[in-house]
Symmetry: D2
Subunit: 143 residues, 4 copies
């Protein structure tokens, strides 16, 4: 995770952007891998008390999962254009309850256009079970 490409964001730069956003900083997102050639980005989100669906379930609420998907998808596009991009729309499908201490989300750019980009995101829990998938259309340029 030490790649540096002119005009593109490194893992450290994405991490700094996450950390400086009040909301993403609150979610404690952590960049764990990225590949500019493949257009893929992997990020983790740890459980914290405020993210629980119902007290004592140990399940992530669907809301933070939606936010997580949105953000990982956003920076899979954004890392190629030097900063976060506006989300145009997003579809999220929840497959099963998300439990455990950390979720891992991997985004893959399916089409990178000048005006719009399409990204797929998959979210796994610690047992590698697929808990949710997202598909988002983002602006192809920085917001």
């Amino acid at each position: 995770v030490s790649e540096t490409v002119p005009g593109k964001l490194s893992a450290a730069e994405i991490q700094a952007t996450f950390d400086s956003s009040p909301f993403l900083g609150f979610l404690r997102l952590r960049v764990v891998a990225l590949d500019h050639d493949a257009g893929t980005l992997t990020v983790t989100m740890p459980m914290r008390p405020e993210l629980e669906r119902r007290q004592g379930t140990g399940q992530f609420h669907g809301g933070p999962i939606a936010a997580f998907i949105d953000s990982v998808g956003d920076y899979a596009v954004g890392m190629a254009v030097g900063g976060g991009v506006p989300t145009i729309n997003l579809r999220i499908d929840y497959l099963r309850p998300a439990v455990g201490s950390t979720l891992t989300g991997t985004a893959r750019v399916r089409r990178a256009g000048r005006t719009v980009a399409l990204v797929d995101v998959e979210v796994f829990d610690e047992s590698q079970a697929l808990v949710a998938v997202g598909r988002g259309t983002y602006s192809g340029q920085r917001g």
Copy 2:
């Protein structure tokens, strides 16, 4: 907001459910209107520092907006069946930046089936500008 219908949730009961959820309590959702016959539910979400998109912008991050849409839609179905229902999938379209101290979301059930329900949600900011719309498929029964 004082309606009581057997087997259905009153505004106070929905509010209590919101307050008891770690995540929804954190979002400080507030029920402001509901109509069981029309299948509509209106809820507000106030700004708080953790929800800001970028420090100093005064804009809500899209993540909490997605979570807000999901929850308002969920209880538009849930108020008719006595409790929250699983979200199957959700599409969110962001129309413009959401600024100000409070967002208002109104959900309307478009189809209430035994197995699945379809709900539309519209989110307005304080100037009554439409900032985002959501369309979700929920389970027709309590989770």
Copy 3:
């Protein structure tokens, strides 16, 4: 249906475009109303043998309904910019079986941007039952 606005399509011009498209001509789409100020367009699609879901059911197949939604939504944007626009993505929800001799689709532009537009489409059968809804993101400019 006799409106003429410079740079915008009249009902007759949209009809001519439908008729000249091999696929839309095959679907026999007919423009019945439009309102440039409101951003609304209403079109009908009659049953024909090739559109039946299963022989003898009298039900429209979901495929032509998807195509119908896409096209009505497209020209709700296109009528303002002088011609059809590329569809970026489309969500369709099927609510109930669509029967009868004609479907009516009404599109409403929710946001008309320079790069992207958002459109809602509702489809009714002859008994005025809502059979399907669509929400599409289109390019804001001619394809």
Copy 4:
């Protein structure tokens, strides 16, 4: 393509169902591969004059592509339960113009539940370019 599994549809049985549907027969869909264990189904759709977007472009109209995606996704679920299933909703993203004499669609079941199933579909043209992707929620049982 000669697999026979009790209670499940073989390729020949899916083909017979396609051929007996007025609309799918019109589209001339052809089953080319299926794998019950993997939950994948591959089908082709040839160009025919009625499917052209604009006369002389050689491009498939987006409407038949949507119908194609819907049907391939449907039978990826349906082949496991012995017949076609109701489509609940469908998202389609168009990536580039679809040209050539035949499109190939591959569906993969991402989650097969008793009440709902989630399916991803990818559509390629003859040059193996990805022209559209679909994601659909279907009933988990025969319609």
